[in-house]
Symmetry: C2
Subunit: 400 residues, 2 copies
């Protein structure tokens, strides 16, 4: 093949993560090693920036700035919640054509993968040479094919450090504690809380994920059982837990529900679910001290809580995308495959296999009684979260 030479656009889409800028830096630095990309444009606020033709020149960025940006949470180029349809993608394609863009790198989740897929289809229809690469990121870890997604390990580390710390707070002043974790459909992030647990008496004692139906009656009885054994109870639950019919628990508990700009029930950025469940426990079990924290935006953007492996993989995924773009005449999503214990191999996977699809926690990760996780899940996340700060309980003798 004659190598396709031309400009490239990079964009960031969807909810930011702690390492999404590592992927940006990976593309920015790696492009400098290649001659097939003549110029690198950064779209401001994702695909919205493309159709508005708002671009940053990513060649004239200093190394120091780019390295510091890589360590900074949030999407440095700006992000968007726009979910492009065919018409929107046609606009994107037209801008690409106008500016002679030949490479498109899109860092995002399964919606962003779908945008890549449609834009790619349109370039084929119009017989316009365009290579499209989806570089995964999402704290939800809900993409198909890949072993895990960049962004998830750092968010998991935040959840682990939160539960590891609050466990000692809750042990010091016993009561019921509910930690509400992000995750509309996939429970990976909530399940990660189990990694915080060192001793059997440590929390979280109960974990509820959206993959299993949640019953308020069962929940009350689960909490009651833990309290009778432990004198305290810590619960990790996904914001997206649903009942038998698949209705969000939050919509059953609250009369007036806020909806987001897509008409979805707003799960994040509000303490409603935790507050409503706290009230139930307080009333039904007559427990005085019931507290709930909704981890909210901190879990995806807290400064200084990053898994070292995650940062490295987020960057390497992006470097792989640039490298492969110069090697093969193909488009795709960059997926990670666990080939060693622990090591991953990067591959280019067809966009259609990733686009718009959602991965859930497999059965082998969820305990049969639906209120905790299985050891297989801990084996899965151990290398991803990596080393934690030291923490332990006091080991002393009682004076009798």
């Amino acid at each position: 093949m004659a190598k396709l030479i031309g400009k490239a656009v990079i964009a960031q889409g969807g909810g930011p993560t702690a390492v999404i800028n590592q992927s940006l830096a990976g593309v920015v630095f790696q492009v400098r090693q290649h001659s097939h990309i003549s110029h690198l444009y950064g779209a401001i606020h994702g695909v919205r920036g493309i159709i508005d033709e708002k671009f940053m020149d990513l060649e004239k960025v200093s190394s120091r700035n780019m390295e510091d940006v890589a360590r900074t949470p949030g999407a440095a180029l700006g992000s968007t919640r726009d979910k492009p349809d065919e018409e929107y993608c046609e606009k994107i394609f037209k801008v690409f054509k106008k500016h002679d863009i030949r490479y498109f790198f899109y860092i995002g989740g399964n919606d962003s993968a779908d945008t890549c897929r449609i834009v790619n289809e349109q370039s084929n229809v119009h017989n316009y040479d365009l290579r499209v690469f989806h570089i995964p990121k999402t704290i939800d870890n809900d993409l198909l094919v890949t072993d895990h997604t960049p962004g998830f390990p750092s968010a998991a580390k935040f959840v682990v450090q939160a539960f590891a710390g609050v466990n000692f707070d809750n042990a010091a002043i016993p009561g019921v504690y509910i930690g509400v974790v992000m995750g509309r459909h996939a429970g990976f992030l909530t399940a990660s809380s189990a990694y915080a647990r060192k001793y059997k008496t440590d929390g979280p004692h109960l974990i509820y994920v959206p993959e299993r139906s949640f019953s308020i009656d069962r929940f009350i009885s689960d909490v009651e059982n833990v309290l009778s054994e432990n004198n305290r109870c810590m619960i990790a639950l996904s914001e997206g837990i649903v009942d038998d019919e698949g209705n969000p628990i939050i919509s059953k508990l609250q009369e007036k529900i806020e909806k987001d700009s897509h008409g979805n029930i707003q799960l994040s950025g509000s303490g409603q679910l935790g507050d409503a469940l706290s009230k139930i426990i307080r009333e039904k079990l007559k427990v005085k001290r019931v507290r709930s924290d909704t981890f909210g935006y901190l879990q995806r953007s807290f400064l200084g809580c990053v898994s070292a492996l995650d940062a490295a993989e987020a960057k390497e995924s992006a470097e792989y995308a640039v490298n492969i773009s110069g090697l093969v005449e193909a488009d795709g999503s960059i997926t990670m495959h666990r080939v060693g214990d622990y090591s991953v191999e990067f591959r280019l996977t067809e966009l259609a296999q990733v686009a718009r699809k959602t991965k859930s926690m497999p059965d082998e990760f969820i305990s049969d009684d639906n209120k905790y996780i299985k050891k297989a899940f801990l084996d899965y996340i151990r290398p991803l979260v990596g080393e934690l700060p030291a923490y332990t309980k006091l080991s002393a003798f009682k004076i009798v």
Copy 2:
């Protein structure tokens, strides 16, 4: 003087902090250097453990365990919300007499200082030789005399890292963000959020502390002004903000308010205040994307977010208490006095000067329009919070 020789009790009271166990370790290790303390008892769950005569033997703790415990958030001995009155303190005193306890070290806030004061008075009345030392801790930083309290700098660091990170998230997907920070009467912790701000456009753009009355109308207009300049708005506010008459804003906004075991309105462990203010902004200003996070227990117990200075000072305060207990025939609270830029000197302050009293943010720290802080506050907390992980915004040229 003939040196008083006898057993010592150490206890931890009130809400735990990230470094309260550094103070515990300070006492445990320093006691080993002195001969005037014959035996060190750790009271389980604070003063409650004293009256129940539940003690741990803190001499036979391994160094490794104690060092790891020191780095662990939460009160390792257990804490209590009991606020002892005269009768309760008499019980404490009787247990001390029964076990021939001659030294009492109590790590806690102003309520704990008051317990120290009463127990000390009773020992004087009964002509029983007892030395009582209050070792300060509180994330609220609301103790008198001392420059600042151990526990505050680490909590402030958490708030700073939270706002520093969410700032980039909010810049990537603009909207209104409300971060609700602990602080019933003192705004120090909320004010710390300002330290996260690197550029003028960074958040938080508005800061509200309980020292100034909060008006919902003014709040709406403040947010509107920031939005018109910035296209986004980040707000830090104390859970304890009050109206002109001193009534908590949360009680005006919600019909049914949860009360804690003391009959106080429950401010922490619930997202009510942030949710209610979000709703108002959404309705009054027609802003679609309004999110609030209530930092809750994470700000005092998140694993791995500790100010190095805070850890060192928490330990040194406790070491000072043990050292001074062998040197002078006096009781008191260990206070820190800023004598250099930056260095502190430890002093023994009369218990009555600290007990039950509450320090507020001085006027020189709060901006005259009551919606931000003054530079003097940043000068005050800079050495306390110390170095942060690297973070910055992308510095690139626009393509025109």
